[in-house]
Amino acid sequence: MDKLRLLIVDDADDNRLVLKAICRKSEDFEIKEAVDGVEALEMTESWQPHIILMDIMMPKMDGFEASKIIKQRYPDIVIMVVTAVLDSRVQDNMSAIGVDVYIHKPIDRELIRYKLQSVGASIRLKTGNFRHLSTKKALNPFNSDIRFFRTFFEIMDTESMMDFGMWLYDKYSAKPTTMVSQFDKVIETFYMLMSQGHKNGDAMSIIIEESYEEFYITIKFDIAIEIDAKLSEMLQEFGEQVIVQGDIVCMRLNLPQESKSIAKETILHEQKVSHANINPLEIKSQAIEEKPQEEKPKVQIFTPTKEIRVIDSEEKVLLHQSFVNKTSAVDYVSELGGDVVNEILDLSSIDEEWEGILGVIEKNPSEENLIYFADAVLNVYVRAINNLFEFTALAYALSSLSVFIKSSAIIISQDKDKIKMLIMLLEHLGKDLTSWREHIFILQDTADIHYVDSSFFSSCMQIEAIINDKHIDADDDNDMEFF
């Protein structure tokens, strides 16, 4: 088995596109797509995917119905539901059906890659294919290439938090350990972390990574939690054993000496944590060799005021792409086919639509109206600009913005301040696009057509971060450099 078969089911073209881009990077997947539940069933019969990424709201047959039928016929297929709504009713429905993993919208690229990686490793383990296991990158910030086995928990409610504690307790108390005296503190600290994170109603993932020598518990929150003074004090007590980094809190607990042999024995056996409220994907990679421990980094505890929107490497390339040759607007337009230019010029009709729909949203900020804006305005722009090879960053930016608005529509629509801010920013963006069209295609007065491509991308990213209440950060790249 060289490649795992992954089926992406979503009725929205751009959602599939984004998911596909994410999945292509994370594992060696063969990817196919389906546009609704009916097609998903047909493809499952004929193609037998290992993993299905399933949208819920779809025409013909929704994701619930399709998942239910698929799980009945093929219980081994891993279904990962992608949803913006995760209340207890939805959750109960999905648990009853046997859905394995939930992915929150808006999609966190890093987390989805991580989950896919874990699920992929699990499937390979079951099917006896370990080819890729040794190359996985760990999530904990202490040691990125630990040869680990990994356990994955989705924490949805207080009960599953308790269960995680029990699981952790069992794991330790069953073994004579040097950590016992400290263990209560560990549990207490994790409860505090989880309950603070959970106050916002956010789901969180806990990832345990361990080798013979090392043991890391990482909590990845959907939204960065506020670490209050008390919790900060508790974390400080662990000194260098804790790293708080953006939306991740990681604790390093060295495996007790005595348990080494147990770990070795159990490594090739499947361990299941059996509780209905917890959805552990027990994943154990083959521990191929022991790695020398890396030098411990200095403790980095800080209280982030906001969650950080990290710029990934793919985005950096688009942002900072450089064009060796300058192309004047006159030369560019004369080389483009008339049809393409006409299509761009026709976008002037969209300008009215752009303003009109924003006016409607201002009066009635419903989820539907926001989605309509993304479909009827942004996506029309994307389709036209997709024909222009010189403006890849712009097309990518608008399509990402469209996906963002659609996936966050329900949240944005309930927040008056966000709606107001989004409308204001989109109005400015619309005017920027009009002026871009004028300078390049009508007045043709720019010496280099690339003057604004990356800037649009940057603006769209900035808009997304503002509405998401996040800080943009590209490590040290966007520090002010003083001369």
């Binding site: 007065d445 800037s455 900035q462 001369f483």
Partner: protein, 128 residues
């Protein structure tokens, strides 16, 4: 007295996001904020003496005039020679930064920018 901060960028969205980032400084009267979409307008106003600033933030790639050419023209003027000017751009190439340094710009910040980092840098430059 409020420090006068001017931003010149051909993108309205960039100006709006910068204004949001500096909102607190504006609302508390620490700075007054003025924006120009066209660098030629700003240059004209500065040369005629009808405009002045304590800190200028400029984009690089603008259709009418490149931000580095704008900086060169401003820095050649005795009145503005020693006033802080920072570049806010998606451009991050070292060659361009070297040009900026030679012209005498104070600092270089890459877009998309972090609100906190922008505010911090401004406070440092303006000493507020």
């Amino acid at each position: 007295m409020a420090k006068r901060v001017i931003i010149v960028d051909d993108s309205r969205a960039v100006i709006a996001t910068a204004e949001l980032a500096l909102e607190e400084m504006i609302n508390t009267g620490v700075i007054e904020f003025k924006s120009y979409l066209n660098p030629m307008d700003l240059l004209g106003a500065l040369q005629s003496g009808s405009e002045n600033y304590d800190l200028l933030i400029s984009d690089v790639n603008m259709p009418q005039l490149n931000g580095l050419d704008l900086a060169r023209a401003i820095k050649a003027d005795e009145r503005y020679k020693n006033k802080p000017l920072i570049i806010l751009t998606t451009e991050s190439s070292n060659d361009l930064k070297m040009v900026g340094k030679e012209i005498g710009v104070t600092g270089w910040m890459v877009k998309p920018f972090s609100d906190e980092k922008l505010v911090k840098s401004l406070k440092m430059i303006l000493g507020v």
